[in-house]
């Protein structure tokens, strides 16, 4: 089996991840931060380690302002719904995932003005276009670091600089880039960084977070109110980080896995992971482009994108290609619109969508070659001629 769906969730996980989760449940699976006994303290240490590792990976000095959520979507909702109110303007792009587009559509109904800046045919954003959308009422810029459809990288350092110059907050959706692209919140001018744990950080599903930079502190309303284990003499929700955004018991077993995944990334090195995935993406792009009838979306340059390679085959529906690839070559990939309707409109692939290959660290060049051959074989056949 060839797993090419790492942009949806990475698989397999490093051995240390399920081991850490098993150890947590088997040895100290108590509630972190609620009680004072040894098991609760040890559970708290595991969660704190995850905070420290995430802060270190993202050039974010303070582990206390790493807020854990169940995924990047929740983190983005916290950033967007927590910050924006009637009369505010927010700038974003057409390449965003629904995790940004839908909260913004919801907020539009509550008086927030939204600019969706068009991108190029390859999914790239021109910072000058974004700058033109900014007005005196703009409060936030929110962009994905890497497109989940075509992997195209956003020039976040440039946008961060622009945001500082215009005194805007800058929120980055790092769901597709955290762990595979270098991210330094301080150097890149990022105020809010939303990440998921289950993609290139190799943690389990149900983990994610929001790193809250200095300029954004105290400015987000919590999505949830409830028990935090702190200030227990009051029925008023606390205002300090991270407790103010972490009401209720955390997914501590998941965070044990995330801590192990973060340790794995640290040990391997983001640059080395990126180099491996870029090499696979470059081969995929080159191999697929050579096949008659195959149209590869995006920049065409592995250096300018993550290892997300989407394509279509003339005469075939993308879902038929995905099904045939699994049946004939045991390739697991994702076809369709990838929860990014505006991106597919921008790329000219709406409403059909595309086939998405997203190799990861554990894939090999041999697997890439097998996949290219499998696509070539399908592209040479008339649609429906598989029986």
């Amino acid at each position: 089996m060839i797993y090419f769906d790492n942009a949806a969730t990475s698989w397999p996980k490093p051995e240390a991840v399920p081991k850490a989760m098993g150890r947590f449940l088997g040895e100290h699976g108590a509630n972190p931060g609620r009680s004072g006994h040894a098991l609760s303290i040890q559970a708290g240490r595991v969660v704190f380690e995850a905070r420290e590792r995430a802060a270190r990976l993202f050039g974010h000095g303070d582990p206390m302002s790493v807020v854990f959520t169940k995924n990047a979507t929740e983190a983005l909702n916290l950033a967007l719904q927590g910050l924006l109110g009637p009369g505010d303007h927010v700038a974003t792009s057409t390449m965003e995932h629904n995790s940004v587009l839908r909260p913004l559509r919801f907020l539009e109904g509550r008086g927030v003005e939204v600019s969706r800046v068009p991108c190029g045919a390859d999914g790239s954003l021109d910072p000058a276009d974004l700058a033109r959308s900014v007005s005196v009422r703009t409060r936030l810029v929110v962009l994905s670091h890497a497109s989940n459809v075509v992997g195209t990288l956003c020039p976040i350092a440039e946008i961060g600089e622009l945001s500082r110059e215009r005194d805007l907050l800058f929120c980055v959706d790092a769901a597709q880039s955290a762990g595979v692209c270098p991210i330094d919140m301080a150097a890149m001018g990022i105020d809010l960084l939303a990440f998921t744990g289950h993609k290139s950080l190799y943690g389990p599903q149900g983990t994610g977070g929001l790193c809250v930079g200095e300029r954004a502190r105290g400015r987000l309303r919590p999505l949830l109110h409830g028990g935090t284990g702190s200030a227990s003499d009051s029925d008023v929700h606390p205002e300090f980080l991270p407790d103010c955004y972490e009401a209720g018991t955390l997914n501590a077993v998941g965070l044990a896995g995330l801590a192990a995944g973060l340790a794995f990334v640290e040990e391997k090195g983001v640059e080395a992971i990126r180099a491996h995935e870029t090499a696979l993406a470059a081969r995929l792009i080159a191999g697929l482009r050579e096949i008659p009838g195959v149209g590869v979306l995006g920049t065409g340059s592995a250096e300018r994108q993550t290892a997300v390679v989407s394509f279509n085959v003339a005469g075939w529906r993308c879902s038929e290609i995905a099904e045939a690839l699994e049946e004939r070559a045991a390739i697991c990939c994702r076809a369709g619109l990838h929860c990014a309707p505006l991106a597919h409109r921008q790329l000219g692939t709406f409403p059909e969508g595309a086939v998405r290959f997203s190799p990861g660290l554990f894939n090999t060049e041999t697997e890439v070659a097998v996949a290219i051959d499998a696509v070539r074989e399908l592209a040479a056949r008339p649609k429906g001629g598989l029986s």
Partner: protein, 79 residues
């Protein structure tokens, strides 16, 4: 109190949340200061979770070690 209680007794550092106590543990370990995470004494705080206990003779060293980070320290007091 145990028979091996330090001569000057114990002190505790209390934090807004357990995240602060866990951050303090890291700093005190790095500074080589003996300490223990213990349940928050109910008579001095309403917080759930745990705080840091140390020998009161080490008070200055503890306060110095904790000053390097914003841990949400509420109080350092004699137990």
């Amino acid at each position: 109190m145990s028979s091996c209680e330090p001569e000057e007794g114990y002190g505790v550092a209390l934090f807004r949340s357990v995240q602060g106590a866990l951050g303090a543990e890291r700093l005190l370990l790095a500074a080589g200061i003996a300490h223990k995470l213990i349940p928050v004494p109910r008579h001095i705080s309403s917080n759930c979770g745990f705080c840091v206990r140390f020998a009161w003779a080490d008070r200055d060293r503890v306060e110095h070690a904790l000053a390097v980070a914003d841990l949400g320290t509420e109080r350092v007091m004699r137990l």
